[in-house]
């Protein structure tokens, strides 16, 4: 697996092949079904699980976290045995994943008493995010935003119906503690706020999906955060969103989140197509 192909991008690179494989699979399955007509869901049951091994999955999970800045440079990774336990894989599999990450230069290993695996000092989330943005097509970005909006909107609408105003006030207090010019802290508290709003929907499925998408989009949002003007607008939108949820106004909450996300994606597409961003694409390996 090359470094760029496993970078977190929204572009569905392997889709044409996957489609062909699906069709072949579908033909085989449909001839075997007695009821005649396989449904789309029926086809999904027999989709290939994927030939990427478990070590590659572990590798990708950690690589994604590093490129997204979730695991910042210098951070120590759990020990091999602990990693193996938490991923539910064999220690040899965890070792293989760590080896691959080391070869990609994402982690370094130090020997000795304070040794272990650490996220490499050159792991710069902004550079990773710029490269991922340059490699993501407009259509893929818009699609990612559509997915994010659908989930976020469903979460805030349910939260508006179900949250107690005291729960929103607690989120608001945490938000007020962080100034928006402390960029890293602001990013974190914004992600947390979005996840807490999702949790207030009382839906575990929606919350899990929001967490996944938040993790996927956060590096892109961090790029938007570098623009002080955009950051202020986003702060204002987030506060207005909390007010709408606290007042139980589902429609207003939905409209605020829709505008906020559209604004961010427009900003990202402008950046993607600016000379600086394409430069970073050319210089990437």
């Amino acid at each position: 697996m090359t470094e760029s192909s496993s970078l977190r991008t929204a572009s569905p690179r392997s889709a044409p092949h996957a489609d062909r494989a699906d069709r072949a699979e579908n033909d085989r399955v449909s001839s075997a079904t007695r009821s005649g007509r396989p449904t789309r869901l029926h086809r999904a049951v027999f989709q290939p699980i994927g030939d990427a091994g478990r070590a590659a999955l572990v590798e990708r999970r950690i690589a994604d976290a590093i490129t997204a800045g979730v695991l910042p440079s210098g951070e120590r990774l759990p020990a091999e045995t602990e990693l193996a336990r938490s991923f539910g894989v064999a220690p040899a599999t965890a070792r293989e994943a760590l080896l691959a990450l080391r070869e990609r230069g994402l982690i370094v290993t130090r020997r000795g008493r304070n040794g272990g695996s650490f996220v490499s000092d050159d792991a710069d989330p902004t550079a990773f995010a710029l490269r991922a943005l340059a490699e993501t097509s407009r259509v893929a970005l818009r699609d990612l935003a559509a997915h994010y909006l659908a989930i976020t909107n469903a979460c805030v609408e349910l939260a508006a119906r179900r949250a107690d105003p005291s729960e929103i006030a607690a989120i608001r207090t945490r938000l007020d503690r962080v100034r928006d010019d402390e960029v890293a802290a602001w990013r974190r508290v914004t992600d947390d706020t979005q996840i807490e709003l999702a949790a207030l929907s009382q839906s575990a499925r929606l919350t899990r999906e929001q967490m996944r998408l938040q993790g996927e989009l956060s590096p892109f949002f961090a790029l938007v955060d570098t623009d002080a003007h955009a950051r202020l607008a986003n702060r204002a939108a987030l506060l207005a969103l909390l007010d709408a949820v606290a007042e139980g106004d589902e429609a207003r909450a939905g409209s605020i989140i829709r505008h906020k996300i559209h604004r961010c994606v427009d900003w990202l597409i402008d950046l993607r197509e600016s000379p600086t961003a394409s430069h970073s694409e050319r210089t990437s390996p």
Partner: protein, 239 residues
């Protein structure tokens, strides 16, 4: 073990839904309280031998977590101890926590969003026992830190020489609580609901009432209300 055997007969003979609910979650409180003192003693001793690290803590807590799974007559999904912030010598925060079918040790750093950065000090299961000094039944809530499921967390404070050092806790999934409790609650009527301190519905014998929705304000008027002693839960019976 003592809690399960001691309380099992009581629940069979619950005279009213409040007694049933109080006995059910009381089992969890009782079980945690049976080991918080012992754990505090062990932590005290460990502190005397040197700095208490996450590793030392994990080793001390694990037997109590296992005991909670093995001996408690409740569908325990997760159990362990969550350290007070800035109390351990090598980490700002730490969850010595085991969960799931295989009772795996929770490792936060390996998850998609870095949950190690989530500040748990303001979450209900930590905040309430810390400030009240008493056990608490927290939720229902979507537990995005540990179980990733719709959860009830029962938590009891652990104190060392009068200082709060963390909470002992256990998780129950609402899914399992519903399977467990709903048939027994149904004996008391077709519209009996359990709500928490903010009026959030934990479960109801009425199929039209949705878990997670709220019964607050004027909508409370149609119910006879019974508070469960020692926990922030109420039983609402439609009049």
């Amino acid at each position: 073990m003592t809690s399960a055997t001691a309380s099992a007969p009581a629940e069979r003979t619950s005279a009213d839904p409040v007694a049933l609910v109080t006995e059910y979650f009381g089992r969890a409180i009782h079980s945690l309280s049976s080991w918080t003192g012992e754990l505090a003693g062990a932590l005290h001793e460990a502190g005397g031998r040197g700095a208490v690290t996450t590793e030392v803590l994990d080793d001390l807590v694990e037997p109590y977590a296992r005991r909670t799974f093995d001996s408690l007559d409740l569908p325990v999904y997760g159990a362990g101890f969550i350290a007070a912030l800035d109390w351990l010598s090598d980490a700002r925060s730490h969850l010595a926590w085991w969960q799931g079918a295989d009772r795996a040790k929770l490792v936060l750093a390996s998850q998609s969003v870095n949950k190690e950065l989530i500040d748990y000090s303001e979450l209900e299961w930590y905040r309430v026992p810390q400030s009240s000094g008493a056990p608490h039944v927290a939720g229902p809530y979507v537990d995005y830190l540990c179980s990733d499921e719709y959860t009830i967390t029962v938590a009891a404070p652990v104190e060392l020489d009068g200082q709060f050092v963390g909470v002992a806790g256990l998780d129950l999934l609402i899914d399992q609580v519903e399977r467990d409790l709903l048939p027994r609650l149904s004996a008391f009527g077709s519209d009996v609901s359990i709500v928490n301190g903010v009026g959030r519905l934990l479960l109801s014998t009425s199929a039209r009432r949705e878990t997670g929705d709220s019964i607050r304000g004027s909508s409370l008027e149609g119910f006879e209300r019974g508070a469960c002693p020692g926990m922030a839960l109420e039983v609402l019976t439609a009049r």
